[in-house]
């Protein structure tokens, strides 16, 4: 098919403009995190002062540690429960209220986070009154994030389960393995890549979430996004730019590293 010169130019211009739109804010964050003054329109000089300010800001450092802790637990819990749920859906073709189970599992994907936060808050307040537990804090945030996390994790894990070859499991059974041995020695290693993907996805979700945390956190418990959110509503604060730059650096390195690993793996399997 002949492609005219004009449309080829239009194509590169359109692609370029959209990439500029996608990356301009990220570039802005990086550049102005090194600015020497509080200005955010003119670059007045290079300095690390906002990174120092960041390291000295105990709210941000504490928030970071808390978010890390919450995200680690959430991701692990989501992957474990997501694996069980996906296994049930793909392998148990009929059990009581299967449709109910599937819709409960998927509903958080489309539910506005405000509603997830509000309804869980009402549950925790109710149970606090009834049995005096749980107090709102890190644990309630983990429970909230995990509800969302299971939904995302099982989307990722289910697709892997569906394309997995069941005959190798049957072979293991025929050779005398117990069901639990089949699960741990055959099934799990086979889906391990999707488990890692799901873990990373739910970790990011939890580490980034602000709405559910805002509803479910208790006094004195603030995650990093909550700290950033409260700073952000007050106005411009270049320390946040510095935090963003560090975060983007970590993510970029991580993505490149994962990309290299998968590229190498694909090469190995090809030959």
């Amino acid at each position: 098919m002949k492609v005219s010169n004009f449309s080829r130019h239009l194509s590169s211009i359109w692609l370029g403009t959209v990439y500029l739109f996608l990356y301009a804010p990220l570039l802005f964050l990086v550049v102005f995190s090194f600015n020497s003054t509080r200005q955010d329109s003119i670059f007045t000089g290079f300095s690390f002062r906002w990174y120092q300010a960041l390291a000295n800001d105990s709210r941000i450092v504490d928030g970071f540690c808390l978010s890390l802790e919450i995200a680690l637990i959430t991701a692990t819990l989501s992957v474990v429960l997501g694996t069980l749920a996906s296994y049930s859906i793909v392998r148990f073709s009929n059990f009581k209220c299967r449709t109910l189970f599937i819709s409960m599992l998927n509903a958080p994907l489309v539910m506005p986070e405000v509603i997830i936060g509000l309804s869980l808050l009402l549950l925790f307040v109710g149970s606090q009154r009834l049995i005096g537990w749980p107090d709102r804090g890190a644990m309630t945030i983990v429970l909230g994030h995990t509800l969302l996390g299971i939904a995302y994790a099982s989307v990722v894990i289910q697709s892997r389960f569906k394309e997995m070859d069941m005959s190798i499991e049957e072979a293991a059974m025929d050779l005398g393995s117990y069901p639990y041995q089949v699960f741990f020695l055959v099934t799990l290693p086979n889906i391990s890549q999707s488990l890692i993907a799901a873990w990373l996805l739910t970790f990011t979700l939890s580490f980034d979430d602000v709405v559910i945390s805002e509803f479910l956190s208790g006094p004195g418990i603030t995650t990093l996004p909550q700290v950033i959110f409260s700073y952000a509503r007050r106005g411009v604060n270049p320390s946040i730019y510095a935090a963003a730059t560090i975060l983007m650096f970590v993510v970029t390195v991580g993505i490149i590293y994962l990309g290299l690993i998968t590229a190498r793996k694909n090469k190995n399997t090809r030959y």
């Binding site: 449309s7 955010d40 296994y87 539910m111 405000v114 549950l123 299971i150």
Partner: protein
């Protein structure tokens, strides 16, 4: 190890049951029960000082009676009206729909040509280009929105640039307007539109386009008569992925919106924590769920109709 082995073998029946039971129970406790609590509170009055809502089953005249009312839902429509004859609740719902609709439209207008060109680009560079669309998605959503606050500020880059070029003399207000809201939302949700559209357009059979051109159609006509209709499922999927989360958006209006740009999420929050009116917050939330479920179920209905039609062919 032997001990574990015996444990697993002996209790394998329980093990199999708990594979399903644990996540099932989890979802019942943390999804189903909270939903019913929400529904239940939305049907009651505000309680006295100690209780934020009144009980639903009351013991009157030696018998238990169920005491519900739908006042909270009615008051969403009939509460104090503003100058436009609408309550703040109705207003916020309408605004949410407006922003969600406009965001979807902008994402489609920007994202469709983008996905189209991406699907036609050099196959060797496609994975990298696609990865570049997804990278911002992995970096904090909050921080990307926050960046726009600095960019659009009165003394920000955009205003200074416009003054430098000479289009304007004094800074114009960009932040806390419809403009900043829509830029922020389009920016955040654009990848959600691009990915399904790209997945659809990349599978498009190029021979169909060639046939159309061979038969004398202009490229413009080919685009509208062949490409667009064939990519309809991608358009619908992308639009749903943008529209639904936009409706309940909470962070973007808080950071980039002004006092007039109030969306439902914010109103629910304010009813809950500022007015302490739990029943009304719950009624608002339930209404919001209906607003989300309705377009989704229409979409699902059409999808299953299509699948049935395919099967019956």
């Amino acid at each position: 190890m032997r001990f574990l082995h015996h444990l697993f073998v002996h209790y394998s029946n329980i093990g199999r049951r708990s594979v399903l039971g644990v996540p099932y129970l989890w979802l019942l406790i943390f999804f189903a029960i909270p939903f019913f609590i929400l529904l239940r509170i939305s049907l009651t009055d505000m309680g006295n000082q100690l209780d934020p809502f009144s009980p639903i089953v009351i013991f009157i005249n030696d018998s238990w009676t169920i005491h519900t009312k739908i006042d909270n839902y009615i008051s969403l429509f009939l509460d104090e009206e503003n100058i436009f004859g609408k309550t703040i609740y109705i207003e916020s719902y309408l605004l949410s729909f407006k922003y969600a609709f406009l965001t979807t439209l902008f994402c489609l207008l920007i994202g469709y040509p983008f996905s189209y060109y991406l699907a036609r680009s050099n196959p060797a560079s496609r994975p990298v280009l696609l990865l570049l669309v997804m990278v911002p998605f992995w970096t904090s959503f909050l921080l990307r929105v926050y960046a726009w606050k600095g960019i659009l500020a009165d003394q920000g880059i955009v205003n200074n640039l416009l003054i430098f070029i000479g289009i304007i003399q004094d800074p114009i207000q960009l932040l806390y307007t419809d403009f900043s809201m829509l830029i922020g939302m389009t920016y955040v949700y654009l990848p959600f539109m691009i990915l399904p559209l790209y997945a659809n357009l990349v599978k498009l059979d190029i021979r169909l386009l060639e046939a159309s051109q061979d038969l004398g159609a202009s490229s413009w006509k080919t685009f509208w008569l062949i490409t667009v209709p064939l990519s309809r499922s991608g358009i619908v999927a992308g639009s749903m992925l943008v529209f639904i989360p936009c409706l309940g958006e909470f962070v973007i209006p808080s950071l980039l919106g002004g006092a007039e740009n109030v969306m439902i999420g914010r109103v629910v929050w304010d009813e809950m924590f500022s007015s302490n009116n739990w029943p009304r917050a719950s009624a608002l939330a339930i209404t919001m769920i209906v607003c989300v479920i309705l377009p989704l179920s229409i979409y699902n209905q059409r999808l299953s109709n299509k699948v049935n039609a395919e099967l019956n062919k």
